[in-house]
């Protein structure tokens, strides 16, 4: 889960990384008292969980005279479709140099990967593409407690030595907060010292509980419902509902829909050991999306009992047609139950998907 900027910078502050003075406000009116601590000029940053805020109009510069008006403007905006409910007001920094610093997980080496550049401020993809030479990297096994001094020197090159302390502090954040990504971009040098001018932290969803973080994001009604049942569910923009077991098989079903010229309305992985009740909930959930014209169920199991699945589909009692591919234990019984109830059962995922795409036309 990606933390909002104000949450992420609080974490950095806890670890001794300097951050600019700032106040979180929930309405333009709250800016008045906040201005006392911010100085003459300040920056208003929409706290929305979306990348490229600057380009999308989510970051505005203001001063004491026009502050409330600019804040009013920002609170009235939607950034990438998300309404602005919170704004972080931070002091305006006199920037002399901009650096890039991030720590991420490297799938190939199974280590932490530290990236540093003395050309910060641009996004990392642009940096990697346009000036790969300016990006310094170091790979460190997370068994290490600190980043070794030689590694810090290699990363920094000619950059100021005091940045080394920031690298080590961010590494500690990365390890202790179960981060998948810890990024400071830009890390800036000002006449008053070094500051983390922005902060991005992505926390491992599997570690939220032990980190004491609750999933707080704006979920749709159906997404919340899916979470309650423990389904992996992603809403998409097409009209064919998809239910599968296993992420790979469900993704492959989506791809086949596209291959045959259809468009999937969702990704729903019911997980292992799908029983009657889970299948019923899954079918009802997907059918509850008004854009769904037809549902394709693709379940292939070792342990999945097809008769249970069949009963679950029938019990859901939805109005849209359901096309089913079922393979596993008690396959014949499952097929028979569905046929008698008038459902279409097909013998392969390809046939099932083809039929669903035709039905949606």
């Amino acid at each position: 889960m990606k933390l909002l900027e104000y949450e992420a910078r609080k974490v950095l502050e806890d670890y001794g990384i300097p951050i600019p003075r700032g106040v979180l406000i929930h309405s333009p009116a709250e800016l008045g008292p906040a201005m006392e601590t911010l100085g003459d000029r300040f920056v208003l940053k929409a706290q929305v969980e979306i990348g490229g805020r600057g380009k999308r109009g989510g970051i505005l510069v203001a001063d004491r005279s026009n502050g409330p008006a600019v804040a009013g403007e920002l609170f009235s905006r939607e950034i990438g479709g998300i309404p602005v409910r919170e704004v972080l007001a931070v002091e305006y920094l006199e920037i002399q140099e901009e650096y890039y610093l991030s720590i991420a997980i490297d799938r190939s080496t199974k280590n932490a990967l530290i990236l540093f550049s003395d050309q910060g401020g641009v996004d990392i993809e642009t940096l990697a593409r346009d000036s790969p030479g300016a990006l310094r990297r170091a790979s460190i096994p997370v068994l290490m407690h600190d980043v070794p001094p030689f590694m810090v020197r290699d990363l920094l090159g000619g950059a100021p030595k005091e940045l080394g302390g920031i690298i080590n502090r961010l590494y500690r954040v990365f390890c202790e907060k179960d981060a998948l990504l810890a990024e400071i971009n830009p890390l800036v040098a000002t006449p008053r010292g070094i500051f983390a001018a922005d902060a991005k932290l992505v926390i491992d969803d599997n570690a939220l509980r032990r980190q004491g973080i609750s999933q707080n994001r704006d979920l749709t009604e159906r997404e919340r419902e899916a979470e309650r049942h423990g389904f992996s569910y992603v809403e998409l923009t097409g009209d064919i509902g998809v239910i599968g077991n296993g992420a790979g098989l469900t993704m492959a079903t989506l791809d086949l829909i596209e291959y045959y010229g259809g468009r999937a309305a969702n990704f729903l992985d019911v997980g292992g050991g799908a029983d009657q009740e889970r299948v019923m909930h899954a079918v009802r959930l997907v059918a509850g999306d008004p854009t769904v014209k037809v549902i394709v169920v693709n379940l292939l199991g070792g342990i999945t009992r097809c008769d249970e699945v069949a009963r679950g589909i029938i019990q859901a009692g939805i109005s849209q047609p359901v096309i089913v591919r079922l393979a596993g234990t008690n396959e014949k019984e499952g097929q028979e139950i569905l046929r008698q109830a008038g459902y279409r059962m097909l013998d392969s995922m390809e046939h099932a998907v083809k039929a669903a795409v035709e039905a949606a036309r």
């Binding site: 997980i105 799938r107 190939s108 199974k110 280590n111 932490a112 990392i124 993809e125 096994p141 997370v142 068994l143 390890c175 179960d178 998948l180 491992d204 969803d205 599997n206 570690a207 032990r210 992996s232 992603v234 998409l236 599968g244 077991n245 296993g246 992420a247 790979g248 098989l249 469900t250 993704m251 492959a252 989506l254 791809d255 086949l256 829909i257 596209e258 291959y259 999937a264 990704f267 992985d269 292992g272 292939l300 199991g301 070792g302 342990i303 393979a327 596993g328 392969s348 995922m349 390809e350």
Partner: protein
């Protein structure tokens, strides 16, 4: 076959849980059919003296090894303790740990894998269905009825999608040497490259199917490093960026790891990529 054979003795950790009991029974049913040793002991701390599916349970892997000859573990321990179980396996001297458990925090996985590496213990998974060498051994939860013995190696990040493609291979008369589910997490022990090196050393294996997903670049890295004939299927062509498609590892981040560019890179190094799962058998036949 690779990693293990019918003579391999297996210890199951998390043996007394529901999953443990269920799968110990299935693994040993398979071992009996193929004349293998199968699961020789179970481990759950504090449950020594119990029996699960006819297998004695011990408090620790070390205790189990005092009474039984085993070189590998299959881990069913819940996520919070699974990394510990990997490290215990390595520390006790086992050479292979197969981790079925899902939802292990990735930092725990990284530490446990780094620790296991120091002890020379290979880790398969986590969040994987395990491995199956038809006619030899099953370690994990793969259904055996879809497979048949033969000369095709299979490496996959998925579970059920693997069964789908194994089923297609079997129907096309293409038996399998070993099917390895390497797991759907962002950090996994054995990756495509490690398993491909094993297949290179394996006389039984003549060609390999790689079943990949969006996220990362481990598929291409593996395929580039081997001389074996390889065909691939990559799931997630229609996956939108920044959305996690079920597996923690199946996510397109920062424009990296999308299926289209993955497929292009594979094709560039001469790997045929199936546009549908059902195309895999034909591609493999063309390679043989």
């Amino acid at each position: 076959m690779i990693y293990a054979d019918r003579d391999t003795g297996v210890i199951v950790t998390g043996a007394t849980g529901k999953q443990g009991l269920f799968h110990i029974t299935l693994m040993n049913e398979y071992a009996r059919t193929v004349g293998g040793r199968g699961v020789v002991a179970g481990v759950t701390p504090g449950k020594a003296g119990q029996e699960v599916g006819g297998v004695p349970v011990y408090n620790s892997i070390r205790d189990a090894l005092r009474e039984h000859d085993a070189t590998a573990s299959v881990i069913f321990v819940p996520a919070a303790a699974a990394a510990d179980s990997i490290m215990e396996s390595a520390s006790a001297g086992l050479s292979l740990a197969v981790v079925i458990t899902e939802h292990i925090p990735v930092h725990d996985t990284m530490k446990a894998i780094a620790f296991a590496r120091l002890h020379g213990c290979d880790v398969i998974g986590p969040n994987c269905p395990g491995l199956l060498s038809p006619g030899e051994i099953k370690m994990g939860i793969m259904p055996v009825h879809l497979s048949s013995r033969g000369n095709i190696g299979v490496i996959s990040r998925s579970g059920t999608l693997t069964y789908e493609i194994v089923d297609q291979l079997t129907r096309a008369g293409l038996g399998q040497s070993t099917i390895v589910g390497i797991g759907g997490d962002p950090v996994i022990g054995q990756t495509f490259i490690d398993v491909l090196y094993r297949f290179e050393e394996d006389d039984q294996t003549d060609a390999v199917v790689i079943i990949g997903e969006v996220g990362g670049s481990l598929e291409e890295e593996g395929a580039r490093a081997t001389d074996l004939p390889v065909a691939a299927y990559i799931a997630g062509l229609s996956a939108p960026p920044e959305k996690r498609m079920g597996h923690a590892g199946a996510i397109i981040e920062g424009g990296e790891g999308d299926a289209r560019s993955k497929i292009e890179r594979l094709k560039k190094i001469g790997v045929p990529v199936a546009s549908r799962p059902s195309e895999v058998p034909r591609l493999i036949k063309e390679l043989l």
